[in-house]
């Protein structure tokens, strides 16, 4: 079928492009020296991982480093929008998208030297789609059956054609684990075995975990059996050792980088990007991300305490959006490192549709408020995580901008657990929020932001029957053009209805010493160290 071919073609094109494009993505304009083999890289992280099991984990601190230990059948391309071969070298959608046949890469070994078998693949996929295990099963819930056709072929039967299946097979939760080792781990239940296995996880990824002191450091060593080849034709990774040091304090982490005690660090505060760019020993890297920053509003007619909720009026929500100057906000909060949101999804999300979202217009905001019956404005509040400087800056900026149209914003700083509790109970007027995609597809963010039945559209209570219907049909729409049209309409309705306050997108800000190169962070957040190296 043509549409299916279309999908595969996009994938294979991306694949062809990615191998050549990868080294060029190293952002800085300077010519890259030839990669150096051996040695150790130390990377400062703001928080430690918690649970290195692809299926049962639930946090970015796990997801973003797991690709260094495990591989998926397909892999996201470096631009984060397509897929390329991983542990499978070929894939073919047949039967109108109801059947997916994958050819496994030959000679792949786990880090302990045992060969990867087709049975490991079947078992891993069955585990990933088990709805009782972990929060990610929905991403592959369209799979009806996984069968080993022969030692190098896997056949996946779909319940319904699923346009996201290739992206899902490139997402962390479908990583391939060694079945026998996992099952031999201590414990009776899957959860217990996963706990034991994740102490010293074995995968087919570029590195192998050798030592983990929680909240202190994680040491990874080169997997000598890794299948991917470097620029020199030899097996990757270049590094012998990769150490993650956990340094929670931003200032200390940057001081350590400047002092040369670590080679690189993540999560550079955007307000310090310019300072690091000016340091001759460092290289600031700003990787395109899927991160959007917004304020979600309670759209229900009444608040939890029974009082009337002005935010339930769409004109009020539009007015509040018109009252915010996103460019000024970006200048204040990110020192110019962000870009305004132009849809509820980031520019890097597939099927993103660009719109002119609420250019600042105070007069229009006032007019809309008057039409809605609030000519003098009103008082409302937003929750934010106390101690989080970025969120405080955002909330304060919004507070000042809204004051110009008579809306008084009260700030309610709360610790994260209290905030989450009230949020889950729909007991709030507004809250600060940020989002990154886990899968290269618009479906996930839409199911959280716009599709009511999942989590009540970010707990805003926003419900639009047209969006819900479009989203549901998009789940089975394998015609890319039709699917793009569905997502265009969803994004347009969402923009007009404005259930959230649209703010800005930010890049992933990482910094390295000049002698440390080859790191890649894809828009989904994955930290790739397979081609990283340190020169003298």
């Amino acid at each position: 079928m043509e549409t299916i071919k279309g999908l595969t073609r996009r994938a294979s094109l991306a694949l062809a492009a990615s191998f050549t494009a990868l080294p060029m993505l190293g952002i800085s304009g300077q010519a890259q020296a030839a990669p150096v083999r051996g040695g150790k890289m130390i990377y400062g992280r703001y928080a430690d991982s918690m649970f290195l099991d692809p299926v049962l984990n639930d946090a970015n601190v796990d997801i973003w480093v797991m690709t260094n230990l495990f591989d998926t059948l397909l892999q996201p391309t470096a631009d984060g929008t397509g897929v390329q071969p991983g542990l499978a070298t070929k894939w073919m959608l047949e039967d109108g998208g109801k059947k997916l046949v994958l050819t496994l890469r030959e000679g792949v070994k786990f880090a302990n030297g045992t060969p990867m078998e087709a049975s490991d693949v079947k078992w891993s996929l069955d585990r990933a789609r088990n709805p009782k295990l972990g929060p990610w099963g929905d991403l592959v819930s369209s799979i009806a059956d996984v069968a080993v056709t022969n030692p190098s072929t896997i056949t996946i039967m779909m319940k319904t054609p699923d346009p996201t299946i290739l992206a899902a097979l490139a997402t962390f939760n479908t990583a391939i684990l060694p079945q026998k080792l996992f099952e031999a781990a201590a414990g009776a239940t899957d959860e217990e075995k996963a706990k034991a296995f994740a102490e010293r996880p074995i995968g087919t990824g570029p590195f192998l975990l050798s030592d983990w002191k929680r909240e202190v450091s994680m040491k990874l060593v080169r997997n000598p059996h890794y299948w991917k080849k470097g620029a020199d034709g030899q097996a990757l990774p270049y590094l012998d050792e990769l150490e993650f040091q956990i340094i929670k304090d931003d200032s200390t982490r940057l001081l350590k980088l400047k002092a040369g005690e670590i080679h690189g660090t993540e999560l550079v505060p955007l307000t310090r990007v310019k300072e690091l760019q000016a340091d001759p020993n460092l290289r600031m890297e700003l990787w395109p991300s899927t991160r959007v920053v917004y304020l979600s509003m309670n759209n229900r007619p009444k608040l939890k305490d029974g009082s009337a909720n002005p935010l339930s009026n769409v004109k009020v929500r539009q007015a509040l959006n018109y009252a915010v100057n996103k460019d000024a906000m970006i200048a204040i909060v990110t020192q110019g490192q962000g870009v305004p949101m132009t849809s509820f999804m980031s520019r890097t999300t597939p099927l993103y549709f660009k719109q002119d979202l609420y250019k600042v217009d105070v007069a229009k905001a006032k007019a809309l408020l008057a039409e809605a019956g609030f000519p003098q404005g009103f008082e409302t509040s937003t929750m934010l995580v106390s101690g989080n400087q970025d969120q405080l800056n955002i909330a304060t900026a919004v507070q000042q901008m809204w004051a110009a149209v008579g809306v008084k914003l009260k700030l309610e700083p709360l610790d994260n657990a209290s905030l989450t509790k009230r949020y889950r109970a729909d007991d709030f007027s507004m809250r600060t929020g940020a989002w990154t995609n886990d899968i290269a597809d618009p479906g996930q963010i839409t199911s959280y932001f716009a599709y009511f039945p999942n989590i009540g559209s970010l707990h805003t209570g926003f419900q639009n029957d047209r969006i819900d219907a479009l989203y549901k049909s998009s789940l089975e729409e394998i015609d890319p053009a039709k699917r793009a049209a569905q997502y265009k309409e969803i994004q347009e309705i969402y923009a007009v209805q404005a259930p959230i306050l649209f703010l800005f997108e930010t890049p992933y800000a990482v910094a390295f010493r000049k002698n440390a190169e080859g790191f890649v962070q894809i828009p989904l957040g994955n930290n790739l160290f397979e081609a990283a190296y340190v020169t003298k």
Binding site: R214, K256, E261, T420
Partner: protein
């Protein structure tokens, strides 16, 4: 009552107070709004996922049954698994406790080494320039926030002058001492100020006592008078102060550890409270309570040695 029974009595007080502390922390942790499951799973998790994990962790049982499980666990030495990290809390804490103990101990020694000689200098030169300078400097130390002192030392001595590493803990004893010097100094700074002031006034007081006049009139050398009579008597109040302050040193370690990226229990405590990781909060509080109780006990013993009237 002889000293042996006195010591036994002190020890006997400790066990019930631990159970009481355990029960109290158990209840307090649960009075915090929010719960560990939604803290771990975050905003995105569905209600079904939350319910499943809650049941799995036994958090859906009644508070009394959970409390009973926890207290009987303590008596068997079982403190449970961390909810966020999914490893036994004893291991989580065991990996970090040495760094905190070393940092606190180091800070204590530094504070004493700094404060005792300066207190003598200040007391013996009362209201003259050395006294004024010493008291002035310590006044600044006392009123400057710990994290600020830490950042100043980090930026100046570590990042700029490269005399010390910027943060971390190193490997092996010698490296630990080297890495922990700046954080210990930071932590010691305000404590040394308190110690110096208290010791200085104690010395001034003792210097006016009749037995000192008597010792002088016996013709004892001034050094001997200071060492044997003045210091020993002045130290009694100071030792109590040191003992009482071990708790606040441990508290100060939270901030210091975080600025200097020292992998100790302080930061773990803060993170666990934010994550509502009940088992870690409970176990850490208990262990810190044990440490503080031990510090009090040692204080009492030292005092008994300094002042033979105690414990009689």
């Amino acid at each position: 009552m002889n000293r042996g029974t006195w010591l036994l009595g002190r020890l006997a007080q400790i066990v019930p107070s631990f159970l009481a502390i355990g029960g109290l922390v158990f209840v307090l942790a649960r009075l915090l709004p929010g719960d560990p499951v939604s803290a771990v799973l975050g905003d995105r998790a569905s209600d079904a996922t939350i319910a499943r994990l809650t049941a799995q962790l036994g958090l859906d049982r009644s508070i009394l049954s959970q409390l009973f499980g926890f207290l009987s666990g303590i008596l068997q030495g079982q403190l449970g698994d961390s909810i966020a990290y999914r490893v036994p809390v004893t291991r989580l804490i065991g990996e970090r406790l040495p760094a905190t103990l070393m940092l606190t101990g180091f800070a204590l020694i530094l504070a004493i080494v700094i404060a005792v000689p300066l207190a003598f200098v200040a007391a013996l030169r009362e209201n003259r320039w050395p006294d004024l300078v010493i008291r002035g400097v310590f006044q600044v130390g006392l009123s400057t926030p710990v994290f600020y002192v830490g950042l100043l030392l980090l930026t100046g001595l570590a990042a700029r002058a490269r005399l010390f590493p910027v943060g971390g803990y190193g490997e092996g004893w010698l490296e630990h001492l080297w890495y922990l010097f700046l954080p210990a100094l930071t932590l010691a700074f305000s404590f040394a100020a308190i110690l110096m002031r208290s010791l200085r006034s104690a010395i001034l007081l003792v210097l006016t006592a009749e037995f000192v006049d008597f010792a002088r009139s016996k013709g004892l050398r001034p050094g001997l008078i200071l060492g044997r009579h003045v210091l020993r008597n002045a130290l009694i109040a100071t030792v109590t102060l040191v003992g009482l302050h071990v708790g606040s040193l441990l508290g100060g370690a939270v901030i210091t550890e975080s600025v200097f990226a020292v992998p100790g229990v302080g930061r773990l405590m803060v993170d666990s409270i934010f994550a509502r990781d009940y088992p870690v909060i409970q176990a850490l509080t208990l262990i810190l309570a044990v440490l503080v109780s031990l510090a009090f006990l040692v204080t009492d013993i030292v005092q008994m040695w300094l002042d033979p009237r105690v414990g009689r």
